[in-house]
Symmetry: C2
Subunit: 244 residues, 2 copies
DNA sequence: CCAGCTAGTGTAAAAGTTACACTAATATGT
DNA sequence: ACATATTAGTGTAACTTTTACACTAGCTGG
């Protein structure tokens, strides 16, 4: 039998691109690193995968340890394995993207890998010099979110359980980086029958209060089984789009 | 500084799900393994990534060595890293899918890893007991192809340079596993202006010969820059679909 | 020259998409 | 208590896209 030992000298990590939505801004969670390499740089919450740990499990563990997050939407994006991307040796990393309700987030990096944890607006990230190839990972994950949000109702993972249609529209506008027509957006979203009108109103706002809705996950799964597709298109006009 | 040595004990491989289209059948290329583990099993062409090799480079090398394929469409899908998926140790694999023109393929596995190389119809794969977690990888890659083919003109990678509209339709039907309406399919495809009418005819067929077309890659890239999207939808009717 | 086969074509009805502007309801400040 | 500011909520007509559907054209081979 051949000897494969020389191949068993690499390591792998998971990195999470964690999206959150705060009022009108799409954000991602970064940590300020507290160890080499890239000590003091901002980067994605990520760490080595343990020898006895599945990839998804590792991603969830890191999410918990470095960001105090639990039970969130998580999806693998792809792996990044450029030779030389890590100074300690050959390290390939598996990128995940994750969607969280920002209000549920309590910054609790209960270990010493991160000295600080903070939300950054996706739109303001260009200027930041991130650790490793994390900037590329963020770009790809954002692109994937943009694609996914058109055909899957994952946007709801970013909103509180109860939300208004305007909040939902703002969320789509942030992700798609475009403006949507209010009437068309509402028509389309409501026609999908995936929202439950809670018969409750917003409170404490200095204007006409909006109705509150929640996402009907059960109905969505029913639709999925019947081969339904949650779909969103762009408008033909350059300056406006519509969630169709 | 911490010691990370214990993490540097794993290996990774690349595996290729290679799709080809032969007349009316979507196929994938498998090898009959000639070494442990899973000696004598059919499996995906894949191998260990070398320490100094990028992932994409490794995928292309393997494609070349195990299947004699060069210069083909290649795209990373995702990584599979279940603990225990490889008996030699911790090995995660990066799955790629690849689209090739089946006629260009000459089975030339110029090393001893594979004792045989063969095309299998995707539809008949269910019964085959593949090595490792390769069955799952095939399923996911096929699902991805199915999704991709609706929004990107990658189908052309599977056809010869010159093809007829009927061939193109059959290709779509194989991938989408559905029937398409001839008139609507043609209307839609031609309205995209991505095909060049070659003013040539099929020869040597025992029926009215069809016109030959080729894909206009240049125009496609122009469209991409202008934010165009190659889009395909399913029909509302259960038994038929249309490439829209 | 007939049989068999695939290529190629148009239209009307239905569905979906788009653009667009005003009234309703609340909180706050005076 | 009234005016102001602010966001919520709503309908329609023009246009575009999608869908269903059936016959003639042109070649080969016997």
């Amino acid at each position: 039998m051949k000897n494969f030992d020389s191949y068993f000298k690499s390591a792998f990590t998971v990195d999470n691109v964690i999206f959150g939505f705060d009022h009108s801004d799409l954000k991602i969670l970064l940590i300020k690193r507290n160890e080499e390499p890239y000590d003091d740089y901002w980067g994605l919450p990520g760490y080595f995968v343990r020898p006895d740990e599945d990839l998804d499990t590792a991603a969830r563990r890191v999410l918990k340890q470095l960001a105090g997050l639990d039970n969130v939407y998580l999806e693998q994006v792809r792996s990044f394995g450029q030779v030389g991307r890590h100074p300690f040796g050959r390290v390939i990393t598996v990128a995940y993207f994750s969607l969280v309700k920002i209000a549920n987030f309590s910054p609790r990096p209960d270990n010493d890998v991160a000295q600080e944890v903070r939300w950054f607006s996706v739109s303001k990230l260009e200027t930041l010099d991130l650790a490793f190839d994390h900037a590329e990972m963020v770009r790809e994950c954002f692109a994937k979110l943009k694609r996914q949000v058109r055909t899957r109702p994952i946007g709801f993972e970013l909103l509180p359980k109860k939300f208004t249609l305007t909040e939902l529209q703002h969320l789509y506008e942030s992700i798609l980086e475009t403006e949507l027509d209010k009437r068309n957006f509402r028509k389309k979203i409501l026609s999908m029958n995936l929202l439950i009108d809670l018969d409750e109103m917003q409170e404490g706002v200095a204007h006409r209060p909006a109705k509150l809705y929640r996402f009907d996950r059960f109905k969505y799964e029913e639709f999925l089984r019947d081969g339904f597709s949650f779909e969103v298109k762009e408008s033909k006009r350059k300056d406006k789009s519509v969630l169709v």
